[in-house]
Amino acid sequence: MSAIIEGKELSRWYGMVMGLNHISFEVRPGLTGLVGPNGAGKSTLINLVTGQLRPSSGDLRVFGEVPWNNPRLLRRLGFCPEGEAVHQDVTARDWLKAMGRLTGLAGDAIRPRIAEVLQRVRLPREAWDRRMGQFSKGMRQRVKLAQSLLHDPDLLILDEPMNGLDPMGRQEVAQILRELARSGKSILISSHILAELEALARDFLILNWGKILASGTRQEIRADLSQWSEQLLVRCDDPQRLARHLFDAGVLLGFDLDLDEKLLRFRVQDPPAFYDRWLGLLLESGTTIHEIRSESRSLRQIFERVTA
C-alpha cells in the first residue's frame, strides 16, 4: 500500500530547540495514531504535514506533494488543531460558513453541509447560532471537528481531538472517526489517551524527544523489538505447580503468585521461542487452566517499553 505521508531524514529545529530530529517514516492510508509524551514532537510533525512549518532539513511529502504553502494540497486535508482556540465572537454556524467558503464550498452548498457536519458531531441544535465564546470545552472540540470535516477531506489530521470531551463524547468522536475510516478516509490522530488511540488506530508512530522510536501496527512494532519480554497472566487450579514447572523448564524471567485468586503472573524472554513450547509446557504441568491473558500487548505497554 503506497504511503500518503512520507518523511525522509526530516528535521525541524526551533533555534537551538529540537522539534524533530532526522526522522524517516511513512504513513499508510487508514487510521494512524501518533503517540508520544508532551514535547515528543507530535505537534511539530502535524504542523509540518499541514504546511504550517517548513522542515529545517530533509524531505516531506503528503500525497506526493510538498505541504509548505501549498493550497492545492490543503484542499485534500482537514485539520483540527490542539487546544480550545476558536473564533470566539462568531456563532458556530457563521464560523463554519466562513471556513466552508475558505475551503471552496459554493454558496448554495454551504448551508446544508454545515447542518450535516454539525449534526454529525452532535453539537446541540440550540448551540448552532450561539457565539462560540460561550461554548464549553467539549462543544468547542465538536465544532472544531466539524470545521475539519466540512470539505470532505481525504486526509483528516487531528491533534488531541478527545481533549475536553466527556466519556460519551469520546465514544461519539471515536465512532465518527471509525465511520470516516471505513468510508476510505485516512486519519492521522495524535492523542495521549493511549487506550482510546489503541481502540481506534491500526498503525502507530511512536515519538519521543523528536525521534520516531517505532512505527507500524502493534504486531510489527513488537516484532521489531528485540529483547522484548512478554508478561502473561494465567488463572489455573494450581498456580504454584505451574510456576515450578515453568521455572524448571527455564523459561521464566520472573513471576508473581496470588494464591487467593489462583493467579500466576510471569514474564518470559524471547516470546516466539516461548510460544513454540507453551502448549506442551501447559500439558506437561497437568494444571487446569481457566484463563490466559497477555499483559504486554497493549499500546501502553508497547509505548512504555519503546520509550524506556
Binding site: L53, T103, P124
Partner: protein, 270 residues
C-alpha cells in the same frame, strides 16, 4: 437533547475539489471580521470611536473660530487620530489571530497566504474608511453648527484625503504588526522618523512621508492652504505616491506573511 447524528454524504472521488476565489475568500474573512465587531463588549468602543472625536471637537472649537477647527483637523485628527487608529487596527490584522490561536484555521485552508493577508486588509480598510469617514462627516457637521464658514470647502478635501491616507497607514501598520508584536513601539518610531523627521525635510526624500502627501491634498482647501502655508502643487503626484506607498507596503507585508512561519514556540513569541 442532542440531534441524531447524520451520515455524511461521501464526495464523488471524481469530483475535483476547488480552491475558493478571491471574492469568496474576502467574503469569508468579512464574516469573521464582522462577527468579531458585533459583540456586546465592542459596542462601547465602537460608539467611542464614532462620537468621542466630534464631541471633543464640539467643546474645543468655539463658535465661528475657523482657526481652531483647522488646527484640530490638521494636527489632531489627521496628524494623530487617523494614524493611531490605523496603527492599532492594521497592526492587529494578523497579530490578533496569532494571539487568539486561530490563525492555524486560516493557514490550513486551500487559500494562498497572499489572499488571506490581502483579504483581511481589505476588510479592515473597508471598515476603517466607514468609521473614519463618519468621523470626518461629524467633524464637518460640528464646523457647520459652530458657524465656521469654510465648512463646505473642508468637507470634500477632508474625505478625499482620508480616502487615500487610510490605506497607506493601514498597509504600513499591517507590515509592522507582522514584523513584531511590539508594533505600537515600531509605529511610534516610524512616525517620528519618517512622518515627523523625513516628512519635514524639504527635499525629494520627504516623498516617503504619508502625512506630507496628506498636507498637499488638504492644501486644495484654501482655508488650510492659507492657515498653514501648504501648497496644493503636485496633488496628483501625492495621490500617486500614496497609492505607491500602499502598494509597496502591501507587497512587503504579503511576502512577509507568505514566507513566515506562525507555529512553534519561537515563532509565536516574535
Amino acid at each position: 437533547m442532542n440531534p441524531e447524528p447524520a451520515t455524511l454524504p461521501v464526495r464523488d472521488a471524481s469530483e475535483p475539489k476547488r480552491c475558493p476565489g478571491f471574492a469568496a475568500s474576502v467574503g469569508a474573512l468579512w464574516t469573521l471580521f464582522w462577527g468579531a465587531l458585533c459583540t456586546g463588549r465592542r459596542v462601547p468602543w465602537l460608539l467611542a470611536l464614532l462620537f468621542l472625536q466630534p464631541v471633543f471637537a464640539w467643546f474645543s472649537i468655539p463658535d465661528q473660530r475657523e482657526g481652531a477647527l483647522l488646527e484640530w483637523t490638521a494636527n489632531l485628527y489627521l496628524g494623530l487620530m487617523i494614524p493611531i487608529y490605523c496603527l492599532m487596527t492594521g497592526g492587529g490584522l494578523i497579530r490578533d489571530e496569532t494571539q487568539a490561536g486561530t490563525l492555524g484555521y486560516l493557514l490550513t485552508r486551500p487559500v494562498s497566504r497572499a489572499r488571506i493577508f490581502l483579504g483581511k486588509y481589505l476588510c479592515q480598510l473597508f471598515w476603517g474608511e466607514i468609521i473614519l469617514g463618519a468621523n470626518s462627516l461629524f467633524l464637518v457637521v460640528v464646523a457647520y453648527v459652530r458657524g465656521v464658514e469654510s465648512w463646505l470647502s473642508i468637507a470634500p478635501v477632508l474625505l478625499l484625503t482620508q480616502l487615500f491616507v487610510v490605506p497607506a497607514f493601514l498597509a504600513i501598520s499591517a507590515l509592522l504588526g507582522l514584523i513584531s508584536r511590539r508594533y505600537v513601539v515600531l509605529g511610534v518610531v516610524y512616525g517620528f522618523l519618517v512622518e515627523v523627521g523625513i516628512g519635514q525635510i524639504p527635499t525629494n526624500i520627504n516623498v516617503l512621508s504619508v502625512s506630507r502627501h496628506a498636507r498637499t491634498l488638504m492644501a486644495n482647501s484654501t482655508a488650510f492652504a492659507d492657515r498653514f502655508g501648504w501648497e496644493a502643487e503636485g496633488t496628483l503626484w501625492s495621490v500617486a505616491s500614496l497609492l505607491i506607498i500602499t502598494a509597496v507596503f502591501l507587497v512587503l507585508g504579503t511576502i512577509w506573511f507568505t514566507l513566515r512561519e506562525f507555529s512553534g514556540p519561537e515563532e509565536e513569541k516574535k
